[in-house]
């Protein structure tokens, strides 16, 4: 038990969760008080002592599933007939029992896809959870085609299973069936709710299938190897450029609380610096009432440092996500700056400030930027040189000593001319010029990247590959 727990904690640390020694001890202590056969309670006890940040919960859950899924009888909890789930023989036996009940042909392997689909359909319709779990198991046996020792990721098996099940079609059928059941009596709202209920159940089924595949993989490959393949970066560490769709969604979700936190922190920082430098004149004036002794020094009121921000972002395919998140973050912090203007470009450039004004919903605005901004000049491949040239021509006069400029992009210029003089001019006029690059530092200046040429005229180029780095930068900026 002790070994198992310390292995578990080690894996959590590998996954990036900060688990301290005391927390580890607490976990050991907590487990003592929990009836070991209650798997849920066991899980929550570990979570309460080891995970201190809600965003780490998913990582924790994954590791937990791998480590404490069915390891021998003492952890094997609450399975209906008490059979070891990943033991294929007993599974088949159990399946065939089920099939007899259904009047099937007997033997899990022989079950036809249609039969599985039919049973699944019924289970989903009646929200029969035990049945759903059983069908998930059957579906994995039937469709995933898992072979021991085959070096393929779990996602591959998941994809194969889901493709065969055709869950979208299943959803349509479910909705139809239920509207038939109520004989068209349902109001539109109720119908919508009914559909969502089914979507929810199907989502649950998908999770069940995923868990099933994982269980079998663990049985096949062993815990450590499996934990390693499942290790995923936390949302704030996910690379913008290589995020999958699900990870993107997670980043989007994480950005909201992040901006709130950042705003609170900045406001607090500002309030704390209540004292400005010594106001010599006022101090002398004040000293008159003490006969010329400067007994009471006076200080200037600090003027909050609210920069005017000009964001110039590349929104071509490769870096679009990065620009989107940065715009999102910057506008969420709008009140920390005296003014924010934003420009987006690919090979043409367009001002998009107005899209953020009078728009309460930033997500909406960012979406509009991607669809409405007029950023294509010739062919829609990044041309930093041309975009900067046009920028200087049209908006260069607006850059003044108060403005802080932020350029976002990977500086991959497709071998066009760079027009780096624009940045030089900007640097002369603006208070500061920064460049954020979403590429890893080691890629800079390889291929068509011309970041060094631009960086000579900036006050700093920052690698900004994930939320954590972005947050750090914005924090220092405001």
């Amino acid at each position: 038990m002790l070994d198992l727990l310390s292995g578990f904690v080690g894996e959590l640390r590998n996954a990036g969760l900060p688990v301290s020694l005391t927390e580890n001890l607490d976990a050991m202590e907590a487990v003592k008080h929990i009836p070991i056969e209650d798997r849920d309670a066991f899980k929550y006890a570990l979570a309460a002592t080891l995970v201190k940040n809600e965003q780490h919960w998913r990582a924790f859950e994954t590791v937990f599933e791998v480590y404490f899924s069915l390891r021998g009888p003492e952890y094997n909890v609450g399975d209906e007939d008490g059979n070891g789930e990943f033991d294929p023989e007993s599974l088949e036996e159990w399946m065939s029992q089920q099939m007899q009940g259904m009047g099937g042909r007997g033997g899990g392997q022989d079950m036809s896809p249609e039969e599985i689909a039919e049973m699944l359909f019924r289970a989903l319709l009646n929200a029969d959870e035990a049945m759903m779990a059983a069908m998930a198991r059957a579906a994995v046996t039937q469709f995933a085609g898992m072979e021991p020792g085959r070096p393929v990721g779990g996602t591959y098996y998941l994809y194969r299973t889901l493709r065969n099940l055709d869950l979208d079609g299943m959803l349509e059928r479910l909705v139809e069936e239920s509207s038939e059941r109520y004989e068209g009596e349902l109001s539109p709202l109720a119908e919508r709710l009914e559909r969502e209920e089914f979507e929810n159940r199907i989502e649950q089924l998908k999770r069940e299938i995923e868990a099933e595949i994982r269980r079998r993989l663990v049985a096949d490959r062993g815990v450590e190897a499996m934990a390693k393949t499942l290790r995923k970066p936390l949302p704030e560490d996910v690379d913008f450029m290589h995020a999958s769709r699900e990870e993107m969604a997670n980043i989007r979700k994480a950005i909201q609380p992040l901006t709130r936190k950042l705003a609170a922190r900045l406001a607090r920082k500002r309030k704390h610096k209540r004292r400005g430098p010594l106001d010599f004149r006022a101090t002398v004036r004040r000293s008159l009432s003490y006969g010329g002794v400067p007994a009471e020094p006076r200080f200037r009121h600090p003027r909050p440092n609210k920069p005017e921000l000009i964001v110039v972002a590349d929104i071509s395919g490769s870096v679009a996500a990065f620009a989107r998140f940065t715009l999102h973050l910057v506008y969420a912090l709008q009140n920390q700056f005296s003014k924010v203007r934003s420009f987006v470009f690919i090979d043409g450039i367009d001002e998009v400030t107005h899209m953020f004004q009078n728009e309460e919903d930033i997500t909406n605005a960012v979406h509009r930027v991607n669809t409405e901004a007029d950023v294509v000049w010739v062919d829609g491949h990044s041309d930093y040189g041309h975009a900067f040239g046009v920028f200087w021509e049209n908006f260069g006069k607006d850059v003044n000593a108060k403005s802080t400029m932020m350029f976002l992009g990977d500086a991959r210029n497709n071998y066009h001319s760079t027009n780096a003089w624009v940045l030089k001019e900007c640097q002369k006029r603006a208070r500061s010029v920064f460049w954020l690059n979403p590429e890893p530092r080691s890629y800079w200046d390889t291929g068509d990247s011309v970041i060094t040429e631009y960086s000579t005229y900036t006050d700093g180029v920052f690698e900004c590959r994930n939320l954590r780095q972005l947050e750090g930068f914005v924090d220092n900026l405001a």
């Binding site: 301290s20 929990i34 006890a45 979570a47 002592t49 539109p188 919508r192 709710l193 936190k261 607090r268």
Partner: protein, 293 residues
């Protein structure tokens, strides 16, 4: 702790249900552990999901007195821990002076005026020194500055308060401590390390329905089910502020008052402002509900 407040795990859940708080497995386990291990619980989660309510319910269930410390920016030692009642101390000195001013002994006097009698207890000290059973609730701990947070550390780990003039006051019994946070800033590692962590999220469909059924008088099961479903549907949208449990309850009460049995789109739209508090959110939700229809 030798004797336990509430038997075993299921005892916790039943006890909480009795005071109309429906706990899920996670909540019940953490409360149970907190009492067994004698550790404070840090509760985090969106606003209006019943964080404060949990502390209150635990107090009600175990028959303990609830001591509440509401945190805010600028909270200091004098308001959270203890304060010397200096007016009374002054009076004491003056009273002495009237009797025999010559035999004034400074050491005696000092011993005299720094005593329990002149100590004003504030919530934290009160919880520590209480003789009866208490539940200490430190509400919205994320609102105090980081420096003030340190003030809590001694209490949370050792259940004691050090007063320079008096010495250390140890707790006669370990109180159950709940800290709540809306997560407006990252709490310090030191604080988190000392606590059990509990994240309360929006409840799932079934639990929300049960909550509505328990808390709203005279609601039918059918309506509760519909309410829970609509709320889940609204929560799936990308909103500035998703409806909380307390807002769900308000909405349910409104619908009951209006005598509505079946929610249709029009009624939902008209009462949406109870569920959502931002105009843009209301518009978005109203649009979503109609488009799909």
């Amino acid at each position: 702790m030798t004797e336990t407040m509430f038997g075993d795990l299921s005892g916790v859940r039943e006890g909480l249900a009795k005071v109309e708080y429906l706990a899920d497995d996670g909540i019940a386990s953490v409360v149970y552990l907190a009492e067994r291990l004698g550790k404070p619980v840090l509760i985090e989660g969106p606003a209006g999901t019943g964080k404060t309510e949990l502390a209150k319910s635990v107090a009600a269930m175990s028959g303990a007195r609830l001591i509440r410390l509401q945190c805010y920016e600028g909270l200091d030692e004098a308001k959270a821990l203890y304060e010397w009642n200096y007016k009374k101390q002054l009076l004491r000195i003056q009273a002495d002076r009237g009797v025999d001013a010559e035999h004034e002994d400074w050491v005696d006097l000092q011993d005299d005026i720094f005593q329990d009698e002149f100590l004003l207890t504030r919530p934290l000290l009160e919880a520590i020194s209480a003789e009866d059973k208490v539940v200490l609730l430190i509400d919205e701990v994320d609102r105090v500055e980081i420096e003030t947070e340190a003030l809590l550390l001694e209490i949370l780990s050792d259940y004691q308060v050090s007063i320079p003039e008096l010495g250390t006051i140890m707790a006669s019994q370990i109180p159950l401590v709940f800290l709540t946070s809306n997560n407006t800033r990252e709490l310090s590692e030191a604080l988190k390390r000392r606590c059990l962590f509990l994240h309360i999220d929006y409840p799932d469909l079934e639990r929300e329905k049960q909550i509505v059924l328990t808390k709203v008088v005279g609601i039918s099961e059918n309506l509760a089910e519909q309410i829970a479903r609509v709320v889940r549907s609204v929560r799936q949208l990308e909103l500035k502020k998703a409806p909380s449990v307390s807002e769900t309850l308000d909405w349910a009460r409104t619908l009951v008052l209006l005598g509505i049995e079946n929610i249709d789109v029009e009624q939902a739209k008209q009462t949406l402002h109870i569920l959502l508090k931002y105009q843009s959110d209301i518009e978005k939700a109203a649009k979503e509900l109609t488009v799909e229809a």
